[in-house]
Symmetry: C2
Subunit: 340 residues, 2 copies
């Protein structure tokens, strides 16, 4: 904090008015104040270069106009893209964000929730660690959230229940991919999931299996590799699935898909001639990798927009949809071979 900030009192003195009047002008409640007076205030403020002290203001209004954002890791492209647009949108509404990276650890989630409660943030946007999303840990998180009483919404990852949330329609997305694959003649399909405590993995898988069974196609357990959302997992999954002679590998995120591609190339497997690959996210690099990756595009801007709307509604105690589920877009590129 600068040592000597200009206070509203000084502005008032300079303008030859009371603090009340000046305050009213600054808060847009100057309907009953003559134009001349208002101008005096503006001028005095400009001359002194007055900046209202938000800390003091927050203390009396009880609002900090700050949203806490807890995410696993901002260096993940999906999260950083989201945070970027969210920050810009929230700023338009006069809010700013305090960013916290949990590094996928529940201990950090808990720590940051408490921390942000002390910071008196008006609301919380939560993408908690996979660890926190495990059913056995649910109680720890929800009870803390209830205790702190901070309005909050879940994004992308959520618990079953009524809590407000914004996500993508993962089951539908899984269905889209499966249908495209079947239409292309694929029957022996391999899947690499993310952590199965995340609804993204659960529902993408559900979508895939539904469609397959609707078409009378079997998805043997051995064709499902349970992994994590990273490259290593993609490589490991590819190693397993290659032995299963699958004609296509559906990785549940693009990082995994890159791992798959690397592994296949290293082992002389041609894509898509020998094995096809599908990803999820539509990361920037998916247009650069060879072959260009067929994947599912997450509507990041729209997500950010919905998150912004919802958290503000929750903070203001307004009516709002409790569960927003957004459509994704299947992006057809060059990594899937048509067998028929």
């Amino acid at each position: 904090m600068p040592k000597r900030a200009v206070t509203i009192k000084e502005v008032a003195e300079r303008a030859g008015l009371s603090v009340t009047t000046v305050s009213l002008v600054f808060n847009g409640k100057a309907d009953n104040i003559p134009y001349a007076t208002r101008q005096k205030v503006e001028q005095a403020a400009a001359e002194l270069n007055y900046q209202p002290n938000y800390t003091a203001r927050s203390l009396v209004t009880g609002k900090t106009h700050t949203i806490g954002v807890i995410i696993p890791d901002i260096s993940n492209n999906f999260f950083s893209g989201m945070v970027r647009h969210l920050q810009t949108e929230l700023n338009k509404h006069g809010y700013d964000i305090i960013l916290c990276n949990s590094e996928e650890q529940m201990a950090n989630d808990l720590r940051y929730i408490r921390w942000l409660a002390g910071r008196k943030v008006d609301g919380l946007v939560l993408i908690l660690s996979a660890e926190s999303m495990e059913e056995e840990n649910r109680e720890k998180i929800t009870s803390l959230l209830k205790e702190t009483e901070i309005p909050h919404i879940f994004v992308d990852r959520y618990y079953h229940g009524d809590a407000p949330r914004v996500s993508v329609d993962n089951e539908w997305s899984g269905r889209q991919v499966a249908e495209m694959l079947i239409a292309a003649g694929h029957k022996n399909i391999g899947v690499i999931t993310g952590p199965m405590c995340l609804n993204s993995s659960i529902n993408r898988l559900k979508g895939v299996t539904s469609v397959l069974s609707e078409h009378g196609i079997d998805l043997p357990k051995e064709n499902i590799v349970y992994g994590k959302y990273n490259m290593i997992s993609g490589k490991e999954g590819a190693a397993v699935l290659l032995k299963r002679n699958v004609s296509v590998i559906f990785a549940f995120n693009d990082m995994q898909a890159y791992g798959v591609i690397s592994y296949l190339k290293e082992n002389g497997v041609k894509i898509p001639e020998d094995v096809s690959v599908v990803g999820f996210d539509d990361d920037l690099f998916s247009t650069i990798v060879e072959p260009k990756l067929t994947t599912v595009k997450q509507p990041i801007m729209q997500l950010s927009h919905e998150i912004c709307d919802m958290i503000l509604a929750v903070v203001d105690g307004k009516e709002h949809e409790r569960h927003v589920k957004l459509a994704t877009q299947l992006i057809l590129r060059d990594s899937v071979r048509k067998l028929i």
Copy 2:
């Protein structure tokens, strides 16, 4: 803000003590307070689930323990990696960060600096837009900074002068690349720069030209393409340099390099057989792209560490190095051909 927060007053009543005593205990100034009393306080606080109100505390202490971070765009991997570690480090010291994306626009830089001044952040970490770094705009930024009196440091991009800053040794890095290239027998070298108002571009180029002239090698003006740090620029640069028959293209960041690679492949130019490529940053994808990209690794964790140290020193008014310049690391992979 939760409607009814537990105040220190209630804790004091519960413990049968004065507010002063309770406050002393919470602030670690309880040297002269008997253990029994301290325990009473702790217990009362625990029972009531007391959380100190930072807003109120800030008002009287004049410190918010918050650092404002202004960057062009968090969805850029270099910035997001930096912010991630910076946030984690600062948190260890009891600070949090307010994140602002300027979207590479000076108007936003100015707006956010004012904004954060009102938020009374203790310090500012600045990676300003390229626009703000242009010499003609320098005055606008620096005068505002002086006016607000917020302690601040520049990161990666800076003005000439005394202001505290953390960056990488770009000239030295440029030299490393040029020497490696010459050792590999390259003589007709093409370069794609970033915005020439950024020291990163200026100094990388300076490093390259120095080494070349030391070796009596010419770098014709036509072999230098002035671009931006993105993929499009890489493609455009590649188109130009291809006509110059260069044996290698040194792109000043990895995104450009990806653009170069795309363009070359699209035009049937083999890498590195026909043309070699070098990047800068060591983005994650550089190990996945084909061929694997030879590039210069930015020491992101170390950068974050230095930024953390410096901003805290500046905030506390402590002695510190004014200009920290970190070494980079040349990562040799598969995109450069040895001609000799």
